[in-house]
Subunit: 329 residues, 2 copies
């Protein structure tokens, strides 16, 4: 069996998650890591993996079947994915929902021009949660979707707290409101405000002598991030933060409740839920399955930008179609 | 917009579920019902739908884009799907898991010969549950799958009870064992016997003067159906059965628990669950979404047998790719 050769651009939490996922898939081989830092300083977990400067990517186009882009959605991916989609089959986890159509158009133009396949917005939301929404709405057209996130760490909200004067460190958890979740699971189709769906729990390390009351006020009144939520702020020591909040768990549920029958008399509830100990490792695992699919699509002659909506599910699996039908169908 | 013209063969619970689902999808039009009964005796819910004898199907090949086969997996579909897959694009809900590879081969040969698309084994298990198993195992290759069914009515088990001497009517519910479900949801990866996963609840109407103890013994000791389970038998009146057990609810959960990390230190639990008030109406809704996909695939020039594993998810939806990316991704 010829293994699919994977490259990674960016070796942060997500890049490391992709590396770990490659090790669980015998049909894939992590060939090279590309970094904007000094390549000599980067020590991969996997033996034998070459480390190159990101600037040298183009020289390695022949060494890699799929390049997985592990940068951030705010600044990295809007530039990187279109830049590399003409040279490599690529996969990214672009997750700024409102900008997906524009990102798709940019990446599609590059991939079409280069004759490559690009899979964007892979991960769990967008990604597995999007699939759950699509399948459920296709099967139950008369219904209503709800997405709950958490309990899990929001990196963006944690960062927002860290930028407040007097804050040394912080960790923010997004938490679904149990009563809301239960009403949705019961098929009650409630109208829910932002505040009724999620609460936000903040664990904050204040700098020596900082005004804790001022920090708390700055958090709970912060527009977009916290003002629309019931937010709790708990001050703890750096030691407690490091000891009790070192993980990056996340998850949530996509629920669709719909009706069928002569007069909508039958209710159906579809729920897809994730409980993830490590957000970046799970996201990395999704990216790697998408890399397998991207390579297959490319070998079949497909070109252009795709999302999980466009990929036949069997393409994500290492098993043959015959085995899948015999064992998983 | 030209609507996709749907035909139904077989007007039992499932055929009626497909009819109701067609009414929820503006891009689809139920054109004709085909029955092995006397067509004059069949009264569709939908106005203007033609009713024909099943023997006349071939004469209507030009009137229909997709024929949905609503017969049973034991006797009808193994004959019908290969017989009609050369004349029509077809969709079936063939659910005898062990025989899927043989059914696939028979249907594929017919569909290839006729230049048509056939989608087999659509519904929820096989169907949506199969998709949940495939996606989860692709994303978490080091893990373990569990499928729990219920609480719901098993038609096959209810029929088996009805065949016992002295039984007038019966309804059997399959029920997951709560402790097993909880252990799996917690990521404990338990080894579970058949008995530890599900219990069986039987509500039985005995005939006048029948020996209830003998009936109960015949049920709980019945091989394959009940002997391997903890089974409870409750005798009730026909009035109680009709009043309290008229529905055909079902559902269940597919759960995969897997590990990632340097040493498998992070656990992830993926759960897909269904709570269905009406098993045949939900199954019918899945079949109708697959009919949409079958027609699209056929229009693109695809031929042969497919399952949900082979269908890009977007093909199941009435929305455009652009709308799906903008609103559901």
């Amino acid at each position: 069996m010829t293994k699919t050769r994977i490259g990674i651009l960016g070796y942060g939490n997500l890049g490391r998650g992709v590396e770990l996922a490659c090790r669980q898939n015998d049909d894939l081989e992590l060939t090279a890591l590309f970094t904007r830092r000094d390549p000599a300083q980067l020590k991969p977990l996997t033996e034998g993996v070459a480390v190159y400067a990101a600037d040298d990517l183009a020289a390695h186009a022949g060494d890699i079947d799929v390049l997985i882009l592990c940068g951030g959605s705010a600044n990295d991916l809007p530039e990187q994915t279109p830049a590399y989609a003409g040279l490599f089959n690529v996969v990214d986890s672009f997750d700024t929902h409102a900008n997906i159509p524009a990102h798709f158009a940019n990446v599609d133009a590059a991939a079409q021009a280069g004759g490559k396949v690009a899979v964007i917005s892979a991960g769990w939301d967008p990604g597995m949660f999007s699939l759950a929404r699509l399948y459920a709405s296709s099967v139950l057209p008369e219904g209503r979707d709800y997405t709950f996130w958490g309990r899990g760490v929001s990196q963006g909200h944690s960062d927002a707290i860290r930028r407040i004067d007097g804050v040394a460190d912080a960790r923010q958890y997004t938490v679904p409101v149990p009563a809301a979740l239960e009403a949705v699971r019961n098929g009650e189709n409630p109208e829910l405000t932002t505040r009724q769906k999620h609460t936000r729990e903040c664990f904050v390390v204040a700098k020596e002598g900082a005004d804790q009351a001022a920090i708390e006020k700055a958090i709970v009144e912060m527009p977009n991030y916290f003002a629309d939520y019931d937010t709790t702020v708990t001050f703890i020591s750096q030691e407690e933060l490091d000891r009790d909040h070192a993980g990056i768990p996340h998850g949530g549920s996509v629920i669709r409740s719909g009706a069928t029958g002569e007069n909508g008399e039958h209710t159906h509830v579809i729920e897809y839920s994730l409980k993830l100990d490590s957000n970046p490792e799970f996201t990395g695992s999704v990216l790697v399955a998408c890399a397998r699919a991207a390579h297959r699509l490319s070998q079949e002659g497909a070109v252009g930008c795709k999302t999980l909506f466009d990929i036949p599910p069997a393409y994500l699996s290492a098993e043959s179609d015959e085995d899948l039908r015999a064992h998983l169908l």
